[in-house]
């Protein structure tokens, strides 16, 4: 293993530049270890931003090809009811956002399962523990990846992606067929972005106990953290079904995965008609109901308990 013979696969940043903010030893603030711990996670797990970025690029390519049919479908849309028009127009944009959210969810799940397991597997936990970074800071920095960093990554990629899509669609429509103005009047700027920001916040808060559980299992399991995370809930659900012919546990899990939609959004308009989730007007966001829902707060308390357990566990854990 001679490094001289290994060409570097990627251009590195100059270490001098990254440290230009070097702070005097005495001025070490409490947030600095946190900041560098999060940076550290991004160094190790580049899939956090590469996976959503790649998905965004692939989606954009697909969208560009689909633009061939855009003028024709705009002509067909013109005859339809404005609400249906909005839904149809918003479809590709909300699909892009949903795709990135799903990708981020998958990345977040696998990241969390490895976060406290990988460092024990490769014994590097001994190196991390040789530095003055508390277990609390470490676990919180790892929890912040699925709860804060990934939603921000999705937002930061989706917004420019949707904007590029809009501009491309406008260009195509202006060149042939018309209807570019419909696109901008029916889908006002910032509307999609605001709904996206709201959805990302809601999902992150709602899924917090899920990631707390995954982090706890990753800190606890000696091997196969995925199985330890997934099988016990499954077994409990099956057991309940067989023993009591009920499925409270199953519906609890289902509620935790997807229940945020019914709480955070008013999916029925004032006439009681169910709205298409592809286009949610701002008026249908229900932050008040979401913030006052027991599901949110119980979930957050459970998440805090799971993370506290993970912090405690990391103190006891040794390399495996």
């Amino acid at each position: 293993m001679n490094p001289q013979s290994n060409p570097m696969p990627e251009s590195p940043r100059d270490p001098q530049i990254t440290d230009s903010r070097g702070i005097a030893p005495a001025a070490m603030s409490a947030t600095r270890p946190m900041y560098w711990s999060v940076r550290r996670e991004l160094w190790e797990n580049r899939s956090i931003y590469i996976a959503p970025l790649a998905a965004g690029v692939v989606y954009l390519l697909g969208f560009m090809i689909s633009l061939i049919w855009l003028p024709r479908s705009m002509r067909e849309l013109a005859a339809q009811h404005p609400v249906n028009q909005q839904v149809a127009l918003a479809m590709p944009y909300s699909h892009a956002a949903m795709l990135l959210m799903v990708i981020a969810f998958i990345v977040g799940v696998f990241y969390s399962l490895d976060a406290l397991h990988g460092e024990r597997r490769d014994r590097s936990i001994l190196f991390w523990k040789s530095l003055p970074v508390s277990d609390l800071t470490t676990v919180l920095s790892k929890a912040s990846i699925p709860l804060v960093v990934l939603p921000l990554v999705v937002f930061a990629i989706t917004v420019p992606l949707q904007l590029i899509m809009r501009l491309l669609a406008t260009a195509v429509l202006s060149l042939g067929g018309g209807g570019a103005s419909t696109l901008w009047t029916q889908l006002p700027l910032f509307q999609l972005e605001l709904v996206l920001l709201y959805s990302l916040t809601v999902i992150s808060l709602w899924h917090a106990p899920l990631y707390g559980w995954l982090l706890l299992v990753s800190g606890w399991a000696r091997r196969a953290p995925f199985l330890w995370a997934v099988l016990p809930p499954l077994v409990i659900g099956v057991f309940e079904r067989i023993a009591f012919h009920t499925s409270y546990f199953g519906s609890l899990m289902h509620e935790r995965l997807g229940g945020f939609a019914a709480v955070a959004f008013d999916l029925k308009d004032k006439n009681g008609v169910t709205l298409d989730p592809h286009f949610i007007p701002l008026s249908q966001l229900a932050p008040g109901r979401f913030l006052s829902s027991p599901g949110l707060w119980v979930g957050l308390i459970v998440a805090a308990a799971l993370l506290a357990a993970a912090v405690r566990l990391r103190r006891y854990r040794e390399p495996i």
Partner: protein, 308 residues
């Protein structure tokens, strides 16, 4: 100042007792070698000192409880537990950035200075470095930290002679000063003999022998004796005898016989052959090798018997 103070340190893994009432006191400025057979409890003792494992008994490191205050303690304590613990995905510049970011006592320029003397490139990943280079990198990081206590657990395991020599040379020349304290465990005792100021043998969870290197040098003598003098030399009550190339090597403990002064004994012994200070390994075998049930000790004497 007392850097490490342990009283009645105990630790059991199930039914296996790793530490069986260890008492330990390490003063500032000392370089302590903790020597013992595999499974003697060396690493467990160090892990307790570093706050990596729970223990029973009293333990204070730099006045702190390592188990509950590990993160604060690590501002003043560094350790290299094994050369393999640097994560393989980490790049050299990332290691520098990260340690500079989280450690208040890290002098980045110093670390860069050490690295400039090696062939390690900032852009390399740890997985691309040779084992010796990883050790150099880790040492560069650790030596740039202005710590009070440095703990080394088998730091040169698996390194070639050149790197091992360099490792201890840099440690002594560039790092150690009278205000720092170093605790090292190793099986390559001959390499640390000239480095240590204090010596401690640990066996089956207990400290079985402790002395300063000064005491070691004035107290123990070794002489290689031709067969015709063996009986006369034995009369002076050696604590250990081992055969070597048709002759015998006898090890004497001056404390065991208070009537004889070192000079006197040395004079008597020099009539039989060359008198010298034994190596730590020889004393280790002499003190621990003959105890029943100590397999590694027996294996060593058997090996030497076979070598004859």
């Amino acid at each position: 100042m007392t850097v490490i103070e342990a009283r009645g340190l105990r630790k059991a893994f199930g039914t296996t007792i790793a530490l069986d009432g260890v008492n330990l006191q390490v003063e500032e400025g000392h370089i302590l070698g903790l020597i013992g057979p595999n499974g003697a409890g060396k690493s467990t003792a160090l892990n307790a000192v570093l706050g990596l494992t729970r223990y029973q008994g009293e333990l204070k490191v730099l006045g702190r409880d390592p188990w509950s205050e590990r993160d604060q303690l690590m501002c003043d304590v560094c350790f290299i537990a094994d050369v393999a613990v640097l994560p393989r995905w980490l790049r050299v510049w990332q290691a520098l950035d990260y340690v500079a970011g989280v450690h208040p006592r890290f002098d980045r320029a110093k670390a860069e200075g050490f690295l400039d003397r090696t062939t390690i490139r900032r852009t390399s990943k740890v997985r691309e470095l040779s084992k010796g280079m990883v050790a150099q990198l880790h040492l560069a990081l650790v030596m740039a930290i202005d710590a009070k206590l440095l703990v080394l657990d088998e730091p040169t395991l698996g390194l070639d002679i050149l790197y091992r020599k360099q490792f201890y040379d840099s440690l002594l020349n560039d790092y150690y000063d009278r205000s720092r304290t170093i605790v090292v465990t190793t099986h390559q005792v001959e390499e640390v003999q000239q480095v240590l100021t204090d010596l401690m043998f640990i066996d089956r969870g207990r400290i079985v022998f402790a002395c300063s290197m000064e005491e070691f040098e004035s107290r123990y003598l070794e002489v290689m004796v031709n067969p015709e003098h063996v009986a006369a030399a034995r009369a002076l009550k050696p604590i250990h005898e081992r055969p070597a190339l048709g002759r015998s090597i006898l090890l004497f403990d001056l404390k065991a016989d208070h009537h004889v002064e070192r000079r006197q004994l040395a004079g008597l012994l020099s009539g039989f052959g060359d008198v010298r200070t034994p190596s730590i390994a020889d004393l280790f075998v002499a003190l621990l090798g003959n105890k029943p049930g100590n397999q590694s000790g027996e294996a060593r004497s058997n090996d030497e018997g076979a070598a004859r």
